[in-house]
């Protein structure tokens, strides 16, 4: 991860105001001062549980939402206040793949009509050339041209997600934001779609922000992984470091709660107490403190409640936001075993 970054996110904040009237409405901070970079050709995984703000970050980057504060830069150009033609050019650079395959398409439009959109909007092709390019696009994602006259609901979930990928790739973007693209798919179909992603990346040199709650899918596809908790980035680093030597207590808990797949090994998950919802986060302090095992081990130091931990370099080339990152013992003794997969 050297060289110029393609996408640079700095101090991103997004507040959502409750619907209603008057000044009594409370604002929810969905994204809280998040910064990271995506480099050309790289895939960054964004993991977190519900309420972590991962989807909002994706929507902010593709400008479906406007940030409350912070900068999003593409190749050094600030995206705020892009207008007209420049905004359209940006759309060619950054595309999105959506989660819900059922609703991601208009059920009343044929595949041909939907896939014509990008070419018509950006005036890239028309007539016979348009036809040819749509056909090529469809073949590229593993579908066939006779499918052009069908409606999206006549496809299976996996095929529909291929259509979603085709739609995003039509404008040949430099960066693709994929929001939970494989959740809701069966395991075998999920593997097909993940392979397609891997293939496209290799061949097109695509950079990708891959948003998912599924650490297995993220680990397969992403060189680097960023972990979010309640709107904040708590750890970011190369995938192996993050998995095998996580620094932040939440990252450890998250990795520990994933089934390791060691048949015969029994139930070995780390069960962390409490839920996101019942820990009223102290704005000034660490959001994870109320559920943090290390915080309890260390005798509940006041610092965790009073001072917001900032991202600092950690061993292994990553960054972590924890006051007591250094004082921690190595997390898992059986990393090699965990890594074994199913052979």
């Amino acid at each position: 991860m050297s060289g110029e970054s393609l996408l640079s996110v700095r101090g991103l904040v997004k507040d959502f105001r409750e619907r209603g009237f008057g000044p009594g409405r409370t604002a929810v901070r969905a994204v809280d001062d998040v910064s990271f970079d995506v480099y050309p050709g790289e895939t960054l995984g964004l993991v977190g549980e519900s309420g972590s703000g991962k989807t909002t970050i994706g929507r902010l980057i593709v400008r479906l939402e406007e940030p409350t504060a912070g900068r999003i830069e593409l190749r050094g150009q600030d995206l705020r206040g892009l207008s007209g033609r420049r905004s359209l050019e940006f759309r060619r650079d950054v595309q999105m793949i959506f989660q819900n395959t059922q609703n991601a398409f208009n059920p009343r439009r044929t595949v041909r009509s939907v896939l014509s959109d990008p070419y018509q909007i950006h005036r890239l092709a028309s007539g016979a050339e348009l036809e040819e390019r749509i056909g090529g696009l469809l073949r590229r994602v593993g579908l066939t041209t006779p499918m052009l006259d069908r409606y999206p609901q006549q496809f299976s979930g996996g095929q529909r997600q291929r259509l979603g990928i085709a739609r995003a790739l039509a404008v040949q973007p430099a960066l693709v934001v994929a929001d939970e693209p494989v959740s809701g798919l069966d395991v075998s179909v999920q593997a097909q779609v993940l392979n397609l992603f891997a293939e496209l990346r290799r061949e097109l040199g695509l950079a990708m922000l891959f948003i998912s709650h599924d650490l297995r899918a993220v680990y397969f596809l992403c060189e680097r992984i960023a972990v979010l908790y309640l709107g904040r980035l708590v750890e970011i680093g190369p995938r192996r470091t993050l998995l095998e030597d996580p620094v932040h207590p939440y990252t450890r808990a998250l990795i520990g709660s994933i089934p390791a797949f060691r048949p015969g090994g029994g139930f070995t998950r780390t069960v962390i107490k409490g839920e996101i919802s019942d820990s009223e986060p102290v704005k000034a302090g660490c959001h994870f403190a109320p559920r943090c095992a290390r915080w309890r081990e260390l005798g509940q130091p006041a610092r965790c409640r009073e001072e917001r931990p900032l991202l600092r370099p950690a061993a292994g080339g990553g960054l972590a936001a924890c006051h007591f990152a250094e004082s921690s013992p190595r997390p898992l003794d059986g990393v090699a075993e965990l890594a074994g997969g199913i052979g």
Binding site: Y219, L254, I272
Partner: protein, 341 residues
């Protein structure tokens, strides 16, 4: 857990078949499913969407929605033949001897009824002899047992005021409160965050530990099966294609579908592979199951064996190896293994 093999049988399902007739065509969603669940055992039922696992579950409960209908088979719970029961008797049995834990408790709880009265409904329906005055104590007791924090406050709340994990705990409480012989858990953790999943699975294991309840665990996730189940049933295209002890099935799958399913799981750790192993194609249409093996079209083993005709012409039986494992494949065994390795 150790004496599971000798324990008595709680649930015995034989040749179960469920059909859906629609616009003249008939889809046999469940076709000849048979299995047993023994006392204190957790049996996993794994399959992808359309495999028939959910319809099987609904058939066990006698809740197959129209236009579906159970056309054959027998379901015995302990010594009761469920098919012979009247609707009223079946209703009395549901929730008491056989209980369901739903996949999405948030949607399965009645949104307009307080948690306490909702848990109490089961008591009122199944234990009418229990004095009304004793119900609140029973309700609090069971909510405490499932680890619901501050149950005295929660009983007065509505479902939407609880988090997903808390809702799921309430659903578990409803399932276990009358000490059922069999608990059917329908993807009980799919809708939850991974840290909460761990909590709920731990809870189910605790329930089994404390009360010896058998659990039929329905899921699409092989990794969860591997860690909490004793035995596993793998379903494909309306049939069981393989069953056996979890460790055996997961480490040395006998059926090519099971193997493919396990291979498709992205490995966690080390250097990831360039590509994942996938299952080509899609499951067959339930309105026209193929004559031979239903997995033949997508089967790698068949390809490696040179596409023998037998696979497409003759439907394989679910053959037992005599040691508690069954597999629905013509080529299970050493000959095929030799070719594959």
């Amino acid at each position: 857990m150790n004496d599971v093999k000798t324990a008595e049988t709680v649930l015995r399902v034989r040749d179960l078949a469920v059909e859906f007739s629609l616009r003249g065509s008939v889809a046999r969603a469940v076709d000849g499913v048979g299995f047993e669940v023994r006392a204190g055992e957790i049996v996993g039922m794994v399959g992808e969407s359309g495999s028939g696992k959910s319809v099987t579950m609904l058939a066990l409960l006698g809740l197959v929605p129209r236009p579906g209908r159970v056309v054959a088979g027998s379901v015995r719970l302990r010594d009761i033949e469920l098919g012979a029961l009247s609707l009223r008797e079946l209703a009395r049995l549901r929730g008491r001897q056989m209980a369901l834990i739903p996949s999405d408790a948030g949607a399965a709880l009645n949104p307009v009824t307080r948690i306490g009265s909702q848990v109490g409904e089961g008591l009122a329906a199944h234990l009418p002899e229990l004095p009304r005055a004793e119900r609140p104590a029973r309700i609090l007791d069971i909510l405490k047992r499932v680890g619901l924090p501050r149950p005295e406050q929660q009983v007065r709340r509505y479902p939407h005021e609880l988090s997903g994990g808390m809702q799921q705990r309430v659903a578990v409480a409803m399932g276990v409160q009358l000490g059922p012989d069999l608990l059917i858990a329908d993807e009980p953790t799919t809708a939850l965050d991974v840290t909460i999943q761990a909590q709920i699975l731990q809870l189910l294991l605790d329930v089994r530990e404390q009360s010896g309840t058998s659990i039929l665990f329905i899921t699409h996730d092989m990794t969860t099966v591997a860690e909490i189940c004793d035995r596993v049933l793998v379903m494909y295209a309306g049939q069981i294609v393989e069953s056996g002890p979890v460790v055996d099935v997961c480490t040395a799958p006998a059926h090519p579908y099971t193997r493919a399913l396990l291979d498709a799981i992205p490995p966690l750790g080390g250097d990831p592979p360039e590509r994942l192993t996938t299952i080509p194609g899609a499951p067959p249409d339930p309105r026209a199951w193929p004559a031979g093996c239903r997995f033949a079209e997508r089967c790698r083993l068949r390809e490696q064996l040179g596409n023998p005709d037998k696979c497409t012409s003759l439907a394989p039986e679910l053959a037992s190896d005599g040691a508690g494992r069954r597999s629905r494949c013509h080529f299970t065994g050493s000959a095929a293994e030799a070719v594959v390795r």
